[in-house]
Amino acid sequence: MNWLSNIIRPRIRSLVEPKEVPDNLWHKCPSCEGMLFHRDLEESHNVCYHCNYHLRLTVKKRLALMFDEGKYENLPLPSVAHDPLKFKDRKKYADRIKESQAKTGLKEAITVAKGKIGGQPVVIAAFNFSFMGGSMGAGVGEAIVMAAEQAVKSKAAFIAIPASGGARMQEGMLSLVQMPRTIIAVEMVKEAGLPYIVLLTDPTTGGVSASFAMVGDVHLAEPGATIGFAGRRVIEETVRETLPDDFQTAEYLKEHGIVDIVVSRSELHETLSRLLNLLMGGESQSGGAKKGKKTDIAVSKSAQVKRKSSIQKEIRPDAPSSAKAVKQVEAAEKALENYRKAGASITEAPKKAASGKA
């Protein structure tokens, strides 16, 4: 499978994480093309305040957003054999690693941190997509094993945050075996009776998607994140199927039963606090604030409040017009009526035997 070929969709390709010190005060939203002032973007945690599009976020900022009061401790990454295959394509793999390290200031495509969320102890393993596309080799796999061991040792919940195109090809089969290795890591956490939560971020594909990322007790996903096994282009080219625009998005996966909650960054800390306290025997964090309130079981829209109505129209050209929506509702109601008439719980008898009785 061409895991990596296709994870970066053309419309997103132009997007890079905004620089820490912006030489450019304005950014353009890759989804609605609205202009975003850097300070406002900072405040919204890299979420477009016109259309709720979640731009990529550095791990540092994400961790600050997730942990209580933004406080956490980075755990040192385990050391592994780099470049076990002495891999070289147009460039040496060893050089690619060095370049990525220089560019990102990070050691590997993963960061492991420890802290509290909602007062509960938590270990987080978060992928750095800017480091070789977040690809998973032995270094990343070993870090996930270490993070899980830490969680078990400190009776903490384990949260994995993939952002990865898949396995790191340059490590060959040693990267493929990280699939079972990371699942073993998660097994240890599960056996200890501790929660394992996955926050799927953009993108989660290939061997990363098909391993630890899909065996969570709870699957959260960021709005709009691309999540899937095979890349969109691979599917289009090999199978020649026309794919819907929202194919493999977080929302699409929720509709197909793979994701529990699509959660906006603004609600991430609260959602995790609530979940962890529910699973780990903690007190309610909301002081009963949720009680008696209507729960939105569909894709959360609360973060879209800031949306400007003038922009809303152009960013959702695929939204059904109200006339079309009315027709759809009518058709659904008609179908329900027919279903009831036919006798809802009674299977239709074979044509021959159907003698008037339902």
Partner: protein, 316 residues
């Protein structure tokens, strides 16, 4: 497609020998001598070619259409084979064959990807590319193996998991991940043999085993050499280079300590002498199972985990 380009001179020679056989019958001793001379030359060429196959050539051999496929092995050494079907939720997936049977008299669970042997069966088996339903059937079979304490044999041969819209919608990633998880949780001996192509996640989904073997000319890779070339070299023309760099041969992977052993193929590859290679595979599985049967479920699960956790840790 069935002809391997590096075999061309050998195939030409074999063609000539066949012709000589036709015209030669009853024409005296000279032709017989000529035939035997040519035959030994063909044998020598074959041996030479197969003793130093490049990784790219092994890719061709591993994908050869006449290579024995999963069902050839099952038919040959599994008695009372009783295929079981379906994931109990959506569909039966003929790309992953599995069921109950007896290996050397002992009841077991057996499964593997089947590529098919002609156009019709290839389509039926989806060229050995498994959909989520196949991996969910694998999970079912592993649960059954655990419950009834039946050893598991898996035969791996796939280009990869199927990339399709429906497969994605029905959770291809989840199905593969859960299949791996089910292998890790099953307290019976598991023996896997890569008999042809071990294509990335779709292959490892049923290859998390206590003993992992590869046929001499099989390949096992994180990505197809073509795919790797088009991404890293930006051109599919570098597939040969990618095949070498990725270390996908049985010999390379044995050296990297990622597999437990290499099963010999007859000279000229598994596609030339099916019975021989099938017997070799059967013998290796038998040895492995004899070794593993005395282990307790708990020991097996612990050792399997330790085995995978050790990958890449020691001496690399």
């Amino acid at each position: 497609m069935n002809k391997l380009d590096f075999e061309k001179p050998i195939l030409e020679l074999e063609g000539k020998i066949a012709e000589l056989h036709k015209v030669g019958s009853g024409d005296g001793i000279n032709i017989t001598e000529e035939i035997s001379r040519m035959q030994s030359k063909a044998d020598r060429l074959l041996q030479q070619a197969y003793s130093k196959l490049t990784p790219a050539q092994k890719v061709q051999v591993a994908r050869h259409q006449d290579r024995p496929h999963c069902m050839d092995y099952v038919d040959a050494f599994i008695e009372d084979f009783t295929p079981l079907a379906g994931d109990r939720a959506y569909a039966e997936d003929y790309a992953l064959i599995g069921g109950l049977g007896r290996f050397n008299g002992r009841p077991c669970v057996v499964m593997g990807q089947e590529k098919g042997h002609d156009t019709e069966s290839r389509i039926k088996h989806n060229f050995g590319m498994v959909r989520p339903e196949g991996y969910r059937k694998a999970q079912r079979l592993m649960e059954m193996a655990d419950k009834f304490q039946l050893p598991v044999i898996t035969l791996v041969d796939t280009a990869g998991a199927y990339p399709g819209m429906g497969a994605e919608e029905r959770g291809q990633s989840e199905a593969i991940a859960k299949s791996i998880e089910s292998f890790l949780r099953t307290g019976v001996p598991i023996v896997s043999v890569v008999i042809g192509e071990g294509g990335s996640g779709g292959a490892i989904a049923i290859a998390v085993a206590d003993r992992i073997y590869m046929l001499e000319h099989a390949i096992y890779s994180v990505i197809s050499p073509e795919g790797c070339a088009s991404i890293l070299w930006r051109s599919g023309e570098y597939a040969e280079e990618a095949a070498t760099a990725l270390k996908i041969t049985a010999q390379d992977l044995h050296q990297l300590k990622l597999i437990d052993g290499i099963i010999k193929e007859p000279i000229g590859g598994a596609h030339r002498h099916k019975d021989e290679v099938i017997a070799n595979v059967s013998e290796q599985i038998d040895l492995a199972l004899k070794d593993l049967i005395p282990w307790s479920p708990d020991q097996l699960i612990k050792a399997r985990r330790a085995k995978f956790l050790a990958f890449g840790r020691n001496g690399l």
